[in-house]
Amino acid sequence: MGLTDREARAEGEQLSTISSISPNWVTTRLDFLVNWARKNSLWPMPFGTACCAIEYMATAASRFDIARFGMERQSFSPRQADVLICAGRLPFKLAPVIRRIWDQMPQPKWSISMGACASSGGIFDNYAMVQGIDTIIPVDVYVPGCPPRPEGLMYGIQLLQKKIEGESFTDEALRDEQLVGPAGLFLPAERVNELSEPFGNSVQQTRNA
């Protein structure tokens, strides 16, 4: 779908910048090189709020060692980070904090939602908890588990690397910032409500209960 969009745009506008021409040997080789460099030197920004952060620390420590995937440096400044890893539940009180950190990270950037709570609110289906960080920031990879084992997080990281491999700089929308809009959300309100619906074997299945 992206290909046809691009072709249509290039034809209509008669542009000849490198990002507007259809993929050819030069652009695909360049993509390959850039993506290879990016995926092998991801700098994670850990956003550890709960027990998932303990598993994240284990993943980063010597036994599992995410340095093997090029994540040698834990970046504790969003300005020098590529991957935001939200490890743990996110209360509403921290929502503006993680949003600001995400906005402060320069492109290219990705995010991993680690664990059940970050991905869906988990067992905390209550007044204080964000029901999935994808209502606050865009998420690339969800890692299930409560908390996920280090192997699980590493699998998620490898999935993210695969995703980066498939990126192309001719896709102009890829690096668009998804900012908080005038309505105060970056998703439509109905979408946020839909994502936050109770699920699974929750005792109270509707919000009115």
Partner: protein, 205 residues
């Protein structure tokens, strides 16, 4: 240990009618005190020789499922010297205003405990120097989460909750000490310095 603490008769002689019923539950003595004299009772328990309940373990509140029962505020006291405990309670009428006197002037540690009870139950501690929310953010508008009439998932829709949370501006609601940036005050942008100097806070609803 199912006996009433010897403090209770001493309280009755000192305060008479202000001390209501007393009972033993799971080995702990619970004394109900009238709301208007609870501050005097707590001061007495702390300072009276032979009592010396000098450590305030916790302040909390209890709301029962039966809506006719009063909401209770409880002070859990401990005497570090005598290794003795005492629980003092005040029953507040649910339909009247929920107000008790602050014991901030007796125990400085009551500061955050009273803020928490205010945040979760809406009990107002008169005389507290800085009574504002502590767990929920300051512009939180949904009410008091631990009250029985508060729905588990809150009053607002998730989208509205998310919108309000994202609109909360944390740095404009916390003092310099809380943000631990007192030393970096002069490094801050000018408008933020002005806001913090004026002590700008959110509005409680």
């Amino acid at each position: 240990m199912s006996q009433l603490s010897p403090t209770v008769p001493a309280l009755r002689t000192a305060f008479g009618d202000a001390v209501e019923r007393a009972l033993v539950s799971c080995g702990d003595t619970i004394v109900y005190v009238r709301n208007d004299s609870v501050h005097d009772v707590l001061v007495w328990l702390k300072t009276e020789p032979g009592q010396g309940f000098n450590y305030l373990t916790d302040i909390t509140a209890i709301e029962y499922r039966d809506p006719e029962l009063p909401l209770e505020v409880a002070w859990q006291l401990r005497s570090l010297e005598r290794k003795a405990d005492l629980r003092v309670k005040v029953a507040l009428d649910q339909h009247a205003s929920l107000e008790v006197r602050s014991v901030y002037d007796v125990w400085r540690g009551a500061d955050w405990l009273e803020r928490e009870v205010y945040d979760m139950f809406g009990v107002v501690f008169t005389g507290h120097p800085d009574l504002r929310r502590i767990l929920m953010w300051e512009t939180y508008a949904e009410g008091y989460p631990l009250r029985k009439d508060f729905p588990l998932r809150g009053h607002f829709s998730r989208a509205e909750q998310t919108r309000q949370a994202l609109a909360a501006s944390p740095e404009s609601h916390y003092s310099l000490t809380e943000l631990s940036i007192a030393e970096a005050f002069h490094e801050l942008p000018k408008d933020m310095r002005e806001r913090l100097r004026r002590g700008e806070r959110g509005f409680l609803t």
